[in-house]
Amino acid sequence: MIPTQREISDEIASLDGAAGAQPRLDYPPYRSSALRHPRHPAVVLDPEGVELASPVFGPRDVGELDADLTIQHRGEPLGERMIVTGRVLDGRGRAVAGQLVEVWQANAAGRYIHQRDQHPAPLDPNFTGTGRCLTGPDGSYRFVTVKPGPYPWRNHRNAWRPAHIHFSLFGTAFAQRLVTQMYFPGDPLFPLDPILQSVTDPAARARLIAAYDHDVTQEEWCTGYRWDIVLSGPAPTVFEGTGR
């Protein structure tokens, strides 16, 4: 039986508020996690060798234009043009400079160009939905794109993901590697979404949501959002929710 949203929401409610600033890897409302989460807690160790560093990326890897998702084709993509910007910091609040940030997202209609995406919403011939940049000396990143639409998925009946942009980041040490998703303020789908709700601490969840920033918005051009990212890397707690 494919569960309903109500059943999933009940499961979400029963797990909410538990401690844990990271997602629970064992999170039954996200059905695909069932066979893909480790049952043992992570083993804590002191990093050594390459773990104390990160790979180096430079201008050879990323071009200036790679951060503008609206100029990759002949025409302009449809949708709400916007800037997403912020700073990448480490767990001590220091700027992560010159590091790689990768993003990917659905188009304004909620459709990915990925061939596995079967959502019957239109593809946009002027939008691929991938971008890269290197952070500046102050840790800043900046992408120009269009606002992605929400999209359906098959976790349960009538399941919809809130609009989001996928982010992949590197810090100054291997453990700061972060793959995450950025959300938009005020989305009514937040409480229904098992992926966002897998972060059961509400304060931690809020750190995944960008802020509308009128100082980023540009007159007669586009809206602006700000989202700072903290690569805390070595976290002081062990894994939560290992299912035992």
């Binding site: 480790p38 992570a42 990093p47 040490a173 304060a203």
Partner: protein, 188 residues
């Protein structure tokens, strides 16, 4: 904790295939190069099935054991060894890298790859180490390996394989890979 609170991870989801993998990502050195080896295996779920929508990343020392500080992983020039690579799994869950054998970071210690894994269904990235099996004394003296129960230690040690090494990432189950969490308070 005095610094800002960390941003949580989220699953890489199903649709990264057109965004994160890139040509040459799994080829840290060309296969024909002197000293080239293969590091290959599968990402496997709790039912023993291959995970076809996973991404494996390696980060490693080169033949000197030193940390590599060379850009160019995303647009390889065929000569520079950057120490970092990325491979998506195929429909059977298999991944493969062509690379160089990492030297130990400290003389007499074991050699290992640092590995990160993401996948659909996996809500945060996982980190682990892949130890080379060649020097039993070095493995026996390793702090992490010595701290593990007998049944789990071997999950971190690669097996000799065709042209190099085999290593399966087992996300769950009897042979579940040991995943790691780095202790805070270190520089970097």
């Amino acid at each position: 904790m005095s610094g800002p609170e960390g941003t949580p991870g989220q699953t890489v989801g199903p649709f990264f295939g057109y965004a994160l993998p890139y040509p040459g990502g799994d080829t840290l050195v060309p296969p024909g190069r002197d000293g080239a080896i293969r590091l290959a295996g599968r990402v496997v779920d709790g039912a023993g099935a291959g995970v076809p929508d996973a991404l494996v990343e390696v980060w490693q020392a080169g033949p000197t054991g030193a940390v590599v500080r060379e850009p160019g992983s995303l647009r390889r020039d065929g000569w520079s060894f950057t120490g970092w690579g990325r491979a998506a799994t195929d429909p059977t869950g298999a991944y493969s890298f062509t690379t160089l054998r990492p030297a130990p970071a400290v003389a007499g210690g074991p050699a290992w790859f640092a590995v990160a894994v993401v996948a659909r269904g996996l809500l945060d990235r996982l980190l682990t180490r892949v130890y080379l099996p060649d020097d039993p004394d070095a493995l026996a003296g390793d702090r992490l390996l010595s701290s593990l129960p007998d049944g789990r230690r071997s999950t971190l040690i690669a097996r000799p394989g065709p042209d190099g090494y085999r290593f399966d990432v087992v996300l769950q189950g009897d042979r579940e890979t040991v995943f790691l969490q780095h202790r805070p308070g270190h520089p970097g």
